[in-house]
């Protein structure tokens, strides 16, 4: 038996993903993600990441839940910088705007880790394991067409297992 399973067959098309602008602040990102991704009665709905749109309306990155954690990291650095300089406190107010953490600071840029839409699922599995990510942008040439996630890959492997064990 031969069955060709390609990334484009199991990915989530980008049209279904929520988007956020690169200059949105963390609170806005939380709000956008909270609106799409939520729990009701032990069941999770929606996606765990946002696509990031540049000021020129191009898709430039993906903001994952783990990316959001980086906001804690950034804030720890900023806090340290401000505390390290005794004069720093004086500048806190005027600089507050400039120190606001934006989506751009914590997103994963698209060019870093991607996969082609015609690649096999095995290839996607290997990238997910090697790069330790759970969401992989899927490209058609230079165009982003979807996201393939660990759960999508796990699911197709599980379905393969069941379809092959069913006949016994």
């Amino acid at each position: 038996m031969s069955r060709v399973l390609r990334v484009k067959n199991v990915m989530v098309p980008i049209g279904e993903y929520p988007v956020i602008r690169e200059d949105a602040v963390v609170a806005e990102a939380l709000c956008a993600l909270g609106g799409s991704f939520h729990e009701r009665g032990g069941t999770w709905y929606g996606f765990q990441s946002l696509l990031v749109l540049s000021n020129r309306n191009r898709l430039i990155g993906i903001l994952t839940l783990r990316g959001l954690l980086k906001a804690f990291e950034k804030r720890a650095v900023y806090d340290h910088l401000l505390k390290g300089d005794p004069e720093g406190l004086m500048f806190v107010k005027p600089f507050r705007g400039g120190l606001e953490i934006t989506v751009r600071d914590i997103m994963r840029p698209l060019r870093l880790i991607t996969i082609g839409q015609d690649s096999s699922i095995l290839e996607a599995i290997k990238i997910v394991c090697r790069k330790k990510v759970n969401s992989l942008p899927v490209m058609d040439g230079k165009r982003l067409v979807g996201i393939v996630r660990t759960i999508d890959l796990f699911w197709s492997v599980g379905e393969l297992l069941e379809s092959h064990s069913g006949g016994e």
Binding site: M1, S2, R3, V4, L5, V25, V26, A27, L30, L33, G34, G42, T43, W44, Y45, G46, Q48, L65, R66, L68, L69, K70, A71, F72, E73, R75, A76, D79, I101, S120, I121, L122, E123, I125, K126, V128, C129, K132, N134, T150, I151, L153, F154, W155, V157, G158, L160, L161, E162, H164, S165
Partner: protein, 164 residues
């Protein structure tokens, strides 16, 4: 950030809520267990995406995540065989998993000892630990005893308290 008093214990999932699997179970069995606890209905997902791993005496020794299970695919180094890669790796992979049965949960789980947080660890420090270890879940210990798992999602749910 001490202003916000939440700790790992306040946001974690209690250990009893997780499915358990033994460390010498096969990958095939593990996938079946996870597909029962964790399943989808159209676009919604139910259940946890990992299972806790027990040794033969019932002690907790690791966490089995989805990515851990997918790692089993890499064991077979299929990419070196162009013919298999192109068409039927799925069949090859799954029949290999079932017939050889030599890949055990132990081989792909994340051992508990590798990275943990304490029950009183502040949420912001849990976030930093998740980033440092490049994982989405960490075991929570209270006086050395495993009491729960804290996940990226749990932090997301309280992040609004920190970033307004």
């Amino acid at each position: 950030m001490q202003l916000y008093g939440k700790t790992a214990e306040d946001i974690m999932v209690a250990i009893g809520d997780y499915a358990a699997i033994t460390e010498d179970a096969t990958i095939f069995e593990a996938i079946k267990v996870l597909r029962q606890t964790f399943h989808r209905d159209k676009k919604a997902w139910y259940g946890h995406r990992s299972a806790v791993v027990l040794d033969s005496k019932g002690n907790l020794t690791g966490i089995l995540t989805l990515r851990g299970l997918l790692k089993a695919a890499g064991f077979r180094e299929l990419d070196e065989d162009a013919g298999i890669k192109s068409e039927s790796w799925g069949w090859y992979y799954t029949s290999g998993l079932r017939e050889e049965m030599n890949i055990k949960v132990r081989d792909v789980m994340r051992p508990i000892a590798l990275a943990t947080v304490k029950s009183e660890t502040p949420v912001s420090d849990v976030a930093l630990a998740l980033l440092k270890h490049q994982v989405n879940s960490l075991p929570v210990l209270r006086r050395g005893e495993l009491v729960g798992i804290v996940r990226t999602i749990d932090i997301f749910l309280v992040m609004g308290d920190f970033f307004r």
